[in-house]
Symmetry: C2
Subunit: 174 residues, 2 copies
Amino acid sequence: MTIMDRLVTASEALFDRHGFTATGMDKLTKGTGISSRTLYKHAGSKNALIARVLGERDKRFARRLEVESIDALFKALEDWVRVEGRRGCLFLRALGETGGDTPEINEAVLAHKARVAERIAVLVERDNGREDPMLVEQIIVLFEGATAAAVYRGEQAVVAARQSAAILMAGARS
Amino acid sequence: MTIMDRLVTASEALFDRHGFTATGMDKLTKGTGISSRTLYKHAGSKNALIARVLGERDKRFARRLEVESIDALFKALEDWVRVEGRRGCLFLRALGETGGDTPEINEAVLAHKARVAERIAVLVERDNGREDPMLVEQIIVLFEGATAAAVYRGEQAVVAARQSAAILMAGARS
DNA sequence: TTCAAAGTAAAACGATCATTTTACATCGTC
DNA sequence: GACGATGTAAAATGATCGTTTTACTTTGAA
């Protein structure tokens, strides 16, 4: 395991648990076991570290979404929530904490959201045999809503999203 | 306009725009035009101010949701988003920034979410003539998803949520 | 075995954090 | 016209912020 892997993995957990701004460099050095000198040599700055954490999380999340149907997509989200916790979308949280004033973070967030939206578009077309931008938008909302509502409603929010998606997909098919 | 009104109104805008942790007391005193001495005399602490801001926002939001149908509820959300902006749910953002470690903030957030969920439950029953917990859960997810997705998809996310809700409501009616 | 690379530990940087305090101005009211 | 209440301005508190630097250790290859 490289220094960068340790750094990103442990930092992600800290950011997710305590928030980005509230997680200071001292908590990062203690939590990762990496000195601030080394941390800055590798990451450059705290914002760059955040952007990198988001980038790696995006990859990990995308791997989970390598499925063959919209229904499987929501099952995958159920799994994700079960093993990774329900603290809401870390990307939107980063955006909210920074007010959109940090370009490197903005880029990471928008790239992630674009990737998920594209994945949904592909699966909608695969399931129903044709493009359907309105339906894609609806599935995006359900996906985002499941993630956010799970914070206070629990896993049942994801189940409800999956059921809703099935109904909307079937309705668009006929 | 009382000191407290000025304080809460201006603070809410600052928190919403820049985030809670990133908005320091100096920005609050300058942004509200209220000295730190008076601020502390009225609010007690920054966390108490945050809780109060959330409480007032909850009231304002609830007033907007005084409608007669699920469809009107999503129309109301469209209006809210148009005039108040699309920076995501300020309550969930507060929760995320504090990691759930601030009891007064937790309470304000959970009270708000419980209130909205109850409103949705009432409207679902009014529209369809019977209780339907699963459908309520689905509408909650759509409502939350519209708020979150609007951050990067724009108002069309709310429109998509409204369309989805109409389909789910109609499907449950038959 | 020596040298450069890469790490830690810890101090220092100036800025900013939330909060309290000191000193002073502006009130409406008795 | 004196008084308590209520506000501002500004300094002080000690802690913590992100970042850099200094001094020292470890390590792997020439």
